[in-house]
């Protein structure tokens, strides 16, 4: 059996050497197979790209269509008379006096005067609820800023309540069944809105509240300012710590460290750290910084520490790759000139590796910017209305804000969640664009 196969095989090989026509036929068949598999591969590639692009497109359309509404806010122009008697204030009143005045009841009275037909207690409440609960405060601040307003009548742009806003932006004037209606307005409220719209008092403007306010339990007053500043402060701490540490580590490991078991061990561990789930770094930060060292919780400083731990491996790995990519001939040239190791690194290796290092750093920063889990662990998930002014003020960050808002049932928070996601994405795209630009710029020099 074995010998006969062998003879078969040798006969076939003989035929190959004898018969060039057979050879050509076999080649043609092989070529066909090859072309076919190449084509298949190309199509598989195209398909996966299309699929990926479709997913991204779907994501973007979804986020933008949901979030675009949050960039406008409904206001109602209402004429308000700053009644001296009712408020007990004059244009000469001091700030303290103004602060003591009852703007709440003044505001309610002003509304009742606009709608004398509303008499019932329940209906009155519904009327007040059409406007942001912050309105009395806003009126008071107007008077504090300009006491001369007392006794005059002003057209005040009142912030519509989130239900009003949602109803006006999404349902008003559209034929819809009861069930489909968005918003939670009563019939009375709807009729008030209707009359306001007809009188031309209702306007939608670009929503500056989104960018000038921090979070709030009132959807129409919630903004991302605090979260954005929290993110920036946290990232600054992260950058200030992780870049120098990572670059120093990379340089030491690549240029100075002896090759032995210990450096191998360190290298393996750095690579492993890059794959550790980020929430673990949060737990580590909680255990070490907060529980052991007793540092304050919820602050950008600790957030920065934790994110530094998280981004270090990424930056170290890319920095090492950048250093490795520096041609050895440059090092030789420097050594040949009598440069010391330090001079070689500082004068020649580092400038050439810098674009790669910076790209790695920015990618690490972008990762840190989008990180939520480790920050939850150290308490940066708190409901913080004040805008942080320093790295030791309690703060939250943009992705955590998104996480918090996405939990809220109000329609307007759904919008604002998507809007905050858009802002976060804009930051990420900007950072990545900056990385590309920086790389091009630094590389173009030589």
């Amino acid at each position: 059996m074995n010998s006969s196969t062998k003879t078969d095989a040798s006969r076939a090989v003989e035929a190959l050497f004898d018969d060039r026509e057979l050879l050509a036929l076999k080649r043609a068949a092989a070529l066909k197979r090859r072309n076919r598999s190449e084509k298949r591969f190309r199509w598989a590639g195209r398909l996966s790209i299309t699929f990926g692009m479709a997913c991204v497109l779907f994501l973007f359309t979804d986020i933008i269509s949901k979030g675009i509404g949050a960039f406008t806010q409904t206001y109602v122009d209402v004429e308000i008379t700053f009644d001296q008697d009712q408020l007990g204030l004059t244009p000469q009143s001091t700030e303290l006096e103004i602060k003591a005045a009852s703007f709440g009841s003044f505001f309610k009275k002003a509304l009742r005067e606009q709608y004398p037909e509303v008499t019932e207690r329940k209906e009155k409440r519904q009327l007040y609820a059409l406007f942001s609960s912050d309105m009395p405060l806003i009126l008071r601040n107007m008077v504090i800023a300009n006491p001369a307003l007392m006794g005059t009548t002003q057209t005040v742009s009142m912030i519509a309540d989130d239900d009003f806003d949602t109803y006006y932006k999404h349902s008003y004037g559209r034929d819809q069944d009861e069930g489909d209606q968005i918003g939670r307005l009563s019939d009375l409220q709807e009729s008030v809105v209707d009359s306001l719209v007809k009188s031309g008092a209702v306007v939608t403007k670009f929503n500056t509240i989104l960018f000038t306010n921090s979070t709030s339990s009132e959807p129409e007053l919630a903004g991302i300012k605090g979260a954005v500043i929290g993110s920036i402060l946290t990232l600054l701490v992260t950058l200030a710590l992780s870049f120098p540490i990572a670059v120093a580590t990379a340089i030491y490991l690549e240029e100075f460290a002896p090759t032995n078991k210990l450096t191998d061990f360190i290298e393996v561990n750095i690579n492993n750290l890059a794959a550790v789930p980020s929430v673990i770094f949060g737990l580590l930060g909680l255990a070490i910084f907060i529980n052991f060292f007793g540092m304050p919780r919820s602050v950008p400083l600790i957030g920065g520490f934790v994110l530094t731990l998280m981004t270090l491996p990424t930056i170290i790995i890319s920095s090492r790759a950048a250093i490795k990519a520096v041609p050895p001939s440059i090092r030789e040239a420097a050594y040949g000139m009598g440069a010391s190791k330090m001079q070689t690194v500082l004068h020649h290796v580092l400038p050439l590796a810098m674009p790669g290092m910076l790209t790695g750093t920015i990618i690490g920063m972008a990762q840190a910017l989008g990180e939520t889990a480790p920050l939850l662990m150290i308490g940066m998930v708190a409901f913080i209305v004040d805008t942080p002014t320093g790295i030791t003020d309690p703060a939250t960050v943009l992705p955590v804000q998104i996480y918090l808002w996405s939990d809220s049932p109000e329609r307007m928070f759904v919008e604002k969640t998507s809007a905050a996601i858009m802002v976060l994405l804009a930051f990420l795209i900007f950072m990545n664009g900056f990385a590309v630009w920086l790389r091009k710029r630094l590389e173009r020099r030589w």
Binding site: T259, P327, S329, I330, R331, A333, M337, G338, H347, W446
Partner: protein
């Protein structure tokens, strides 16, 4: 190749005697009983050689014969290779260059090097030439530095070509210009010895001729050791020639004698083209 190995085994024993005249009176560098190892593998076997003052000595031999390794011992460039180990005595002006007291930075300022592939720093032409003076603190002010850069470039015949674009990247120069710039960079710190590791192998014939002429001119003031693949080049530029074979220094003689009347059989086989 078979022939070469066969003859080597026959002719070169573990203890061997270099033919010709490896030793000189009052040399610039003295190399005695030098062995070089890469890990367990020995690359250079018991080399004894003197390098004469203001002379060009060329080192020839088939690929892998250790001539570059030997050259890189002369300014301790092999220090950067962890597994490399050097035994023996290497003296520069009667001073052991592997002495613990010798600073390698100082040594490399005295023994400069030009590499096979032109490797200018990715900086401006000016910065390339000025770099050595900067790190060794040779000039006191900008005017002196400008003067030094100009002198060095003039001596390398590059001044006319680059004087209007000193601030431009050196990497924009042609290969031959880059190599001459590397030579200018090396001589800007006024070394005593210049090591050249196949300086023309990446250049075209015209650039090669220019560089060879330059080597010839520089030999008035510098001691030059050049490793080359080209026997014609060795014949053109050097006064003495050393022939290496499988890590052993087979023959050292005046260049004219090596090429016209080699003493050793291996040398003859190499220069007549039977091995290599």
């Amino acid at each position: 190749m078979n022939l070469a190995q066969h003859t080597t085994a026959e002719i070169v024993n573990e203890t061997y005697q270099t033919s010709g005249h490896p030793l000189l009176e009052d040399p610039k560098m003295r190399i005695r009983n030098t062995n070089v190892f890469y890990g367990a593998k020995q690359a250079i076997f018991d080399v004894n050689l003197d390098i004469g003052k203001n002379q060009v000595i060329s080192m020839i031999g088939p690929s892998g014969c250790g001539k570059s390794t030997f050259l890189r011992c002369l300014n301790r460039m092999n220090d950067t290779i962890d597994i490399c180990r050097i035994e023996g005595q290497l003296l520069l002006e009667e001073q052991d260059i592997y002495d613990k007291k010798i600073d390698v930075v100082e040594l490399r300022a005295r023994v400069g090097m030009v590499f096979q592939k032109p490797n200018p720093f990715p900086k401006s032409i000016y910065e390339n030439v000025a770099y050595g003076a900067r790190i060794h603190g040779l000039t006191d002010n900008k005017v002196q530095l400008d003067e030094l850069v100009e002198t060095s470039l003039i001596r390398c015949g590059l001044w006319k070509e680059v004087k209007d674009r000193l601030g431009e990247p050196a990497t924009g120069l042609s290969g031959g210009q880059q190599q001459r710039l590397c030579i200018a960079r090396a001589i800007a710190v006024n070394p005593e010895v210049i090591l050249m590791d196949e300086p023309c192998s990446a250049l075209d014939p015209i650039a090669t001729a220019t560089v060879e002429e330059l080597i010839h001119e520089l030999s008035e003031n510098f001691t030059i050791c050049i490793v080359t693949h080209s026997m014609q080049q060795a014949a053109r530029v050097s006064q003495r020639t050393a022939y290496f074979h499988l890590g052993k220094l087979i023959e050292v003689n005046d260049t004219s004698q090596v090429f016209t009347n080699p003493e050793h059989q291996l040398t003859e086989e190499y220069i007549t083209g039977r091995i290599g």
